[in-house]
Symmetry: C2
């Protein structure tokens, strides 16, 4: 049949037409030129109804092929690495690319989870640091101080649950802030306090109200406080 030859009006084929088709890729599912040519050629030819229906099926088949080819072209335009300008190769490259993307996605999600957990641990540690009630929060500047060396400690009751506390420590490993931290830590009701620096020593004198404690208990509490403060420091 010579009309079949008309369908082969494609010349210099899948090397040039691929790129031309890429431009008008937007769903031109209409009848292409070859289809129109064949239709106008066969309609005056075959008079019986079977010829018309055959034309319809041929046209449908042609359209279906075009659909598939366009899909493959589109797939090729999306996949970045194309090994060969081949239909099967395009699909294989797409498979590789999809697997690559899937693995990359898993990797990225793992990375995010890792970062999130790191960040969560950082935040929780910071939260713990800020909300600890049993341990005082040391100001960072005193973290690296040497332990407080208690030279003398005196606790004396002056009646009505009031006490006079006097303690002395070396100046080089004790500061006003340190002492304040100790006092804050053991949580006393301070009436007055006095800090005096004399001859390389620091003398700390305070009057506190501690009605529920004996002088011995108060003394132990202060010693424990200093011990805890020392334990919280890095030395």
């Amino acid at each position: 049949m010579e009309d079949e030859m008309e369908a082969y009006q494609y010349n210099s084929y899948w090397e040039t037409k691929r790129f031309l088709d890429n431009e008008e890729l937007n769903q031109s599912w209409g009848i292409n030129e070859a289809c129109v040519d064949l239709g106008s050629l066969t309609s005056p030819d075959g008079a019986e109804s079977s010829g018309a229906v055959v034309n319809k099926t041929v046209e449908n088949e042609r359209n279906r092929r075009k659909k598939m080819n366009d899909s493959i072209c589109r797939l090729r335009s999306i996949v970045p690495r194309i090994s060969k300008m081949d239909k099967a190769s395009t699909i294989r490259d797409a498979i590789d690319y999809v697997q690559e993307l899937q693995e990359q996605e898993r990797q990225l999600e793992g990375e995010i989870a890792e970062i999130q957990s790191q960040r969560a641990s950082e935040i929780s540690s910071s939260y713990e640091y800020n909300n600890c009630v049993n341990y005082p929060s040391l100001s960072p500047q005193t973290w690296n101080f040497p332990p407080i060396e208690l030279l003398e400690l005196n606790v004396q009751e002056i009646g009505d649950g009031n006490y006079i506390i006097s303690m002395t420590c070396n100046k080089k490993n004790c500061s006003m802030s340190s002492m304040c931290e100790v006092i804050d830590y053991i949580d006393l009701k301070i009436m007055t306090s006095n800090i005096t620096a004399v001859s390389g020593h620091i003398m700390f004198t305070l009057t506190v109200k501690a009605e529920e404690l004996t002088s011995l208990q108060l003394r132990e509490k202060i010693e424990t406080g200093i011990f805890m403060i020392n334990g919280l420091r890095r030395h």
Copy 2:
């Protein structure tokens, strides 16, 4: 031709064979049964050489089709959402999936970048907090204190570069630690210090040595210190 019918030995076709092929998907690019059948059938029939070469091309074409179909099957097994068990639909679904993956990848990378920058800013702020030399490091427990409300400030020189400083503030927004932080911040040489709590107020009295400062400069320095401490708090 009756031998062409032999090639159609597939029955209940692409509904069942698809899933059977999926199991032996691992590169069985060998000759399939239909090809062997056709080959053994046409070799005794046609004696001339053209029949053999036609067989070869037919077999090659058959092989090429199988390759493409297997590729599409594999693609279908990878893509999670398949709308229809159709060749073209499979490719279209693959296109959609690839685009979806690409967008997801971009989104994940953006998310990672965002988290990283957040984390970096957190770390840098923490670094700033710990290593700032001009600003004192507040102990976390006083961060959320209200600003210190200075009710009275007195600076009096007592000779030889020694000063007596006395200041008063409200008890509810001032503590011993706060005052210590102010004193630490302005970095004075403290000789003696006294803190007294009276009638809802805190009285802070200290004797300092500041030979290089006038009493006005010292006063400004203290005010600046309180201002800075207040500025560092969250209020």
